[in-house]
């Protein structure tokens, strides 16, 4: 069977793993933040805008200082700015969160492409950092320990987020607010404040993801650079059943599907290019169809909270 041979070929090639984690990394950055936002009850679709603005700010930061760390910091700040607008509009003014998110996606697409045309930042991919011993692990060594150096932030970000959500008072309140805002409100938690804060966290993470996408993967800014990755990250959270472990698994899955377009032709498989570029989205839809019923979302996901209104 050609199909199973192809799968075996992919599974036994080192470059396939490397490409998969490269694509998955951006998704993980964004999805970790999105996960916190969704646990607090916001289905945050402006994540696409956060990644895009993060990528643009990353390019500007690199352009001005030639320093990737500054780029990443600027990316985080840019993501935070988008999340500020989203949070204030949807959880202070009670505008519909999808409407705000969608508007922000379109607005910041306009802003970044306009500013790019005006300022034309130049940037390039940063150097790789290879960890001596771990890199020698067969198949997955390079995938996890031979990536551009900002990749290492993931090893801090993921455990930190886990600690933040499951081991701190703030995290408990965030989960309570997403599960049952009325009860949380009665016990003295400022529901919309927690929701706003969790969106800020999503903004920081996605902005970092955007800067990573630019400085660690693509190198040059372009307004189509994000290409739906934000939405895929969002679905990865749903796919993972709103657990951190599941979300990261989802990112790895979608990351490898995204990487097929690069790896499969390299292994000598000629596939229909339209099919390859819609495959991540098809897999995403199929995954949602299969899993949307099995997992239990946070009790009040995507429902705004206004005191006294159910």
């Amino acid at each position: 069977m050609g199909f199973f041979e192809a799968i075996w070929d992919v599974l036994s090639t080192e470059t396939a793993y490397t490409a998969a984690t490269r694509f998955a990394a951006v998704l993980v950055f964004a999805a970790v933040g999105e996960w916190v936002a969704e646990r607090s009850g916001t289905l945050n679709i402006s994540i696409e805008a956060m990644i895009l603005t993060g990528a643009f700010a990353g390019a500007m930061g690199y352009h001005w200082t030639e320093n990737a760390l500054v780029g990443i910091l600027m990316g985080m700040i840019a993501g935070l700015i988008v999340s500020l607008v989203q949070a204030q509009m949807s959880h202070r003014l009670t505008a519909d969160q999808f409407v705000v998110g969608l508007t922000l996606n379109i607005l910041f697409l306009g802003v970044t492409s306009f500013l790019y045309a005006e300022w034309k930042p130049s940037s390039k991919v940063v150097s790789k950092l290879e960890i001596p011993v771990l890199k020698e692990i067969p198949l997955i060594g390079e995938a996890f320990f031979g990536q551009p150096w900002p990749f290492l932030f993931l090893y801090l970000l993921v455990p930190f987020t886990w600690w933040l959500v499951y081991r701190t008072r703030w995290g408990l309140e965030v989960r309570a607010v997403g599960e049952n805002p009325q009860a949380a409100d009665v016990s003295g938690i400022d529901v919309n404040k927690r929701r706003r804060q969790s969106i800020y966290y999503a903004g920081l993470c996605s902005g970092m993801g955007g800067a990573y996408l630019l400085l660690g993967q693509v190198g040059r800014f372009d307004d189509g650079i994000v290409a739906g990755r934000g939405f895929i990250a969002l679905v990865a959270v749903i796919f993972g059943g709103w657990t951190l472990r599941g979300t990261i698994l989802g990112c790895l899955l979608f990351g490898s599907v995204l990487s097929f377009r690069l790896t499969l032709p390299g292994l000598g498989y000629q596939l229909n290019s339209e099919l390859m570029s819609s495959l991540p989205f098809l897999v995403t839809i199929i995954a949602m169809t299969a899993f949307a019923r099995r997992v239990r979302p946070p009790g009040s996901l995507a429902r705004p909270f206004v005191r006294g209104l159910k």
Partner: protein, 361 residues
Amino acid sequence: MSSMRRRSEIVFLYACSTFVALLLSAIIVEAVGANWTDVWNSLLDGSLRKPGRWGKTLGSAVPMAMVAVGTIISTKVGLINIGQEGQMLVGAAFAAYVGAHAPGSGPIVICLVIIGGFVGGAFWSGLAGALRYWRNVPEVLTTLLLVTVAANLVGYALKNTWLLLDPDAAFGNRALVSKQLDPDSRLPRVEIFGNNFSLSVILALLIIVLTTWVLSQTVIGFKLNVVGENRRVGQRFGISEVKQGLMAMCASGGFAGLAGAMMLASGDFAKYRLVTGFTVNLGWTGLLVALVAREKVMAIIPVALIFAGLRTGSSFLAATGVERRVTDVVQGLLVLALLVPPAILFIRDRRRALAQVESRT
């Protein structure tokens, strides 16, 4: 509170937020070293004043308005369809296929093309609707993800002669275009004062009026409204949520598809052919029009005209030295600003109501 005072409050809030949005846009323009009055003048030239321009503006207002009508229908039942860009493209593809293969002549083919567009769009949004009610998949995400799939699907169709690719064009210059609509199966064009526009403008006006009537005066509209406001009430009265939801979803995508078919048959875009990237972001802009118009179908007309004006005006911006993408920023800021007043009014009404309750106890 008197209705007079309330109305002036609303007008004041809208005026303020529009002003802030325009002020921010002016600041952005000045920041890149241009003059905002120049920009304003060239936008007006490009959308209204120069000969033949307002016809063009009308031409791009039509698809936006149709997309917005569809969006309002789906929001009525509480569904959020944000994949109009893809539904439009699939509608246009169906329309192009029908136009190339339908037998008969003239008016019959035009009708078939338009109906084909509606069916195509309805099919694409119906997929998302079906997944919503069958497996509880959030329609916000499926409609959005299906946009890319639609673009790739139509891209594939445009590479194959058995689907859409025009055999003559394929052998000639290898361009990926569909067969051009026959001259007698195009929507006729009208010429007034040196501006010409196609009959789709009138068709769109009719549809807007008809939709307003259906939504506000008929049982169909009432049922949609009941389900959207409170589905429990709907259940009690035997109104099926699934049926209404699917219907609204299909209508919503159908109107987007109709917009695509009208673009194809009216000739304002790509000369009666389907090309790659045919929808030129009009689906997204139409969605923004609906967001600004909120629940009011009639409000679509002015908003669509303003956004279409920004679009056609932007092609005259080169002379001022400002990138044409600045109009996207202006548009986004306007939409964002116009989301604020309803939210503020909602909060104030609630505070007042709460204060009244407290003073009574």
